[in-house]
Symmetry: C2
């Protein structure tokens, strides 16, 4: 038997929070796994079925502000066929199934709100087949993003979606993850073209194909991506698109060409810079102008002054304490030069100061290490705190207004909060450190979050750009999609008539009659 380590990303066992219900509107019936179900699973999996209290707690805990809600058992599965067997056993007694990857989601997706069995896919971490010619890879769902990229390093290819956390690819499928590089490379719907999934009756399906595009039938791939485990357990990404690493190593049989290309300066490179502004408005206006003019960027991240301060302290950096943009370009040396100088011109047009270009690889790494540490840097500001992260996306035309109003709202609410954003996608987060004991603060935080979502929806935006609905945003889904939610629920009911697939997520079942 392979070693059954709990994923590294989940090490910090937070202080035990309240078990039980997750909110007043959700009256979900608990369907505890019966002794017979547990026993059947035990027979199937042996010591890969755990009911130890610490394992259960760990599987009921994500990185969010939501209550710890442990499952009744955890099944450490090793194959798609085993997932089928687990689902069949659970389906027989209408026991809920909650897929679990690395536990890095932050809207309570892995909470066992109706009880049931957590299906831990981290043991399915095989990188099954690298297909260099098609620049794609077939992976099991439990492969983590960092594992995949480490494995790919020597090939000159990379998996481009980067949500920050070291999530599993399966988890990233579940929430339709994106991140800093999405402005250039897209999100999971762009990059996961074909899946293996186990449906609520245990049947295994393969969606999509190895072709880059298709018009053959309903798009089950993109229906499952972002469905948060409520329709199926995704066990493999069969056609996971890869990008070329800057300074890539080309295929052997084109090595002579590669040499020529290197000599002519064409191979891809990357260039990053940071610039700061007096006012947040100027930073965002720079961003929207760059996007509207169609200047290619590979990443474009906004940080408010609080974030810069936190990051400076945490990573021992010395960035100017002002609203800042980090902008990165990927391309040939000439393209970089040109794109970067145009962006600098636009930034200066909006009053940018301290434009610092990271020309060496070390400078670039230092720059991004700051951005990548934001979550921990911000939490570090408030000892003993956990983090709440809001996540909205709005159209470009409303981005400045939405961010500036949000900044003002933070101030008015007396909350210490920080704003970071994948602004090239119109997506931004507000990170607020909090402690469980301060109920009044918690209340203000939730009220602020509520106003933020309403603000984003009023702009024609979305209540979640990349984190998903989980249990944290269920009330906003009908606000955003109105009657369309009824048809989402019709699909849920049709594909999972017993409501065993991650029940109590995405929809308030009680609100729906059809």
């Amino acid at each position: 038997m392979r070693c059954r380590l709990i994923p590294v990303a989940r090490t910090s066992l937070v202080s035990l929070r309240r078990w039980g219900s997750v909110g007043s509107r959700q009256q979900i019936t608990r369907r505890t796994a019966s002794a017979e179900t547990i026993s059947a699973l035990k027979e199937l999996l042996g010591d890969r079925l755990s009911t130890s209290r610490s394992v259960l707690e760990q599987h009921g805990t994500d990185e969010s502000y939501h209550d710890v809600t442990p499952p009744d058992a955890v099944a450490f599965v090793e194959s798609t066929e085993e997932v089928t067997e687990v689902i069949k056993i659970c389906a027989a007694t209408r026991t809920p199934i909650i897929p679990f990857g690395a536990g890095t989601s932050i809207e309570g997706h892995i909470s066992a709100v109706a009880g049931g069995v957590s299906v831990n896919l981290s043991g399915m971490n095989g990188i099954l087949k690298l297909d260099r010619e098609n620049m794609s890879v077939k992976v099991e769902a439990g492969v983590t993003r960092e594992q995949l990229n480490a494995d790919l390093r020597a090939t000159g290819l990379m998996f481009p979606v980067d949500p920050g956390a070291n999530a599993t690819i399966g988890g990233m499928v579940a929430t339709n993850a994106s991140g800093t590089t999405t402005v250039k490379y897209g999100n999971m719907k762009t990059n996961a073209l074909s899946l293996t999934a186990v449906m609520a009756d245990g049947r295994i399906i393969k969606t999509g194909s190895k072709a880059r595009k298709s018009s053959a039938g309903y798009d089950l791939t993109r229906l499952l991506i972002g469905s948060e485990g409520t329709l199926a357990v995704v066990t493999e990404v069969r056609n996971c698109m890869l990008g070329l690493l800057p300074f890539r190593v080309l295929h052997d049989h084109h090595l002579h060409l590669q040499v020529e290309l290197r000599l002519s300066g064409v191979p891809e490179a990357e260039k990053a810079m940071i610039c700061s502004f007096d006012k947040m408005k100027d930073a965002i206006d720079t961003c929207t102008t760059v996007m509207q003019m169609g200047i290619p960027v590979a990443r474009m991240e906004m940080m408010d002054e609080n974030v810069v301060d936190a990051v400076n302290r945490y990573s021992n950096l010395n960035n100017s304490l002002r609203p800042s943009l980090i902008i990165e370009h990927h391309g040939s040396a000439n393209e970089l030069e040109q794109q970067s100088s145009v962006v600098q011109e636009i930034a200066r047009d909006f009053g940018a100061m301290d434009i610092e270009v990271a020309s060496t690889s070390e400078d670039r790494k230092r720059l991004w290490s700051g951005r990548h540490s934001v979550w921990h840097a911000v939490l570090n500001q408030v000892p003993g705190s956990r983090g709440f992260s809001a996540d909205v996306a709005v159209p470009f035309s409303k981005l400045t207004e939405a961010v500036v109003e949000t900044q003002q709202d933070l101030k008015t609410s007396g909350l210490f909060g920080t704003i970071v954003g994948h602004v090239g996608d119109g997506n931004f987060h507000v990170l607020i450190p909090f402690t469980d004991d301060n109920k009044e603060h918690l209340g203000r935080m939730k009220a602020f979050s509520h106003r933020l979502v309403k603000r984003a929806l009023a702009c024609g935006g979305t209540c979640t750009g990349e984190h998903g609905i989980g249990i944290g945003k269920m009330e906003y889904l009908p606000m955003e999609h109105g009657g369309a939610v009824d048809f989402m629920y019709t699909i849920k009911k049709a594909l999972d008539p017993q409501d065993i697939m991650n029940p109590g997520k995405i929809f308030y079942a009680n609100d729906r009659s059809n």
Copy 2:
């Protein structure tokens, strides 16, 4: 009342083909619209409800090889609310509803195989709201691609998806259309982010949002795109993404910047070239190498020698009678220079001859006018013929093999056929002119098409890259997607329990039990 012209694209009334059933496997029950239904629709629409024989025939005829299968009536609708009323009237008697745009689809999507009412959306051709700052537009489903681009010309923006035919945007949503520019700008799933649709019970939903990305709930937008009218009638694309026109006019408030940028040579431009090869294999290998090296192309089209010959005759051109590639780049002048020279180097590496660069706008237009006339140029080779178009897509690694085998198969079958391809997406078509009277030829053609699809599926590809399933490829959907088709059908049944939305398309209902 607005003028009710039949769309221009549908002018050539072909000789009347056989009415009736569409194949031995499909035993679909005809549900003719009753006199009461017709009368209720007449009351709703007045003279915008037609039962004239010529109008019915026209609405049962697309540009494919499929039989003419007219509906019982045609409803020329003018608003989303009217579509709701039409659907409610039809639903009351389980009368089929077949959405109709420009009639340019080629897999029998608009055939009234079960009778019923054709809903002609060409009168819903309003360009409702241009949103320059978000580079998007809200359009009614009946707007045609060319109409939209003509309307946009002065803005510096363009709608980038180009399937060749002057289809309606709604029709392009129905089949998930793509085309020559997809390699750079994506297909309809990339560019139509938010829809208004009327469901089978008449309810109107709005899917998606104005944000560029979202993780909020199931992706109904991409479920409806490519569903060929079998789940809903799409009446609007609310957030239809636009691209920047090369040599674009920038927004007024950035005019000073634009001037600077123009002076520094940054504004986008386009550059196209054609090169020919001794063997098809070399052309395709050039294409796959360009893609694998990540060199940006805006279009990359392959034509076999038969196509070049047809196009030369039809458009009075003088291209070398050899397998050829047309490659276009969009970018800044410097980028173009660099990208084009690398591609030329790769092409020469594979033995390219006659590399002709179209440097002026006129040269470029002439080059593409040839490619755009392929359909008519090929049909022109066989007087009185209609066209059959195969449409498969395969992974890059298999593209050369698939195309070369297909070329050999054409020869062995004694068929006059031509191969063109959006090879940057791994997608290619075989166009075969045919006449109805030669049954033996028709049989050979169908057998060839069958082998082509099986070849593509064996490569891990898809039976349709961009045309859709319609009635022409229903037998291939289960070959491609296996048991996943059962779950597609489960969704169909859940959202359209009466089977009134374009019935008899995509699925063989009789094959499905769940």
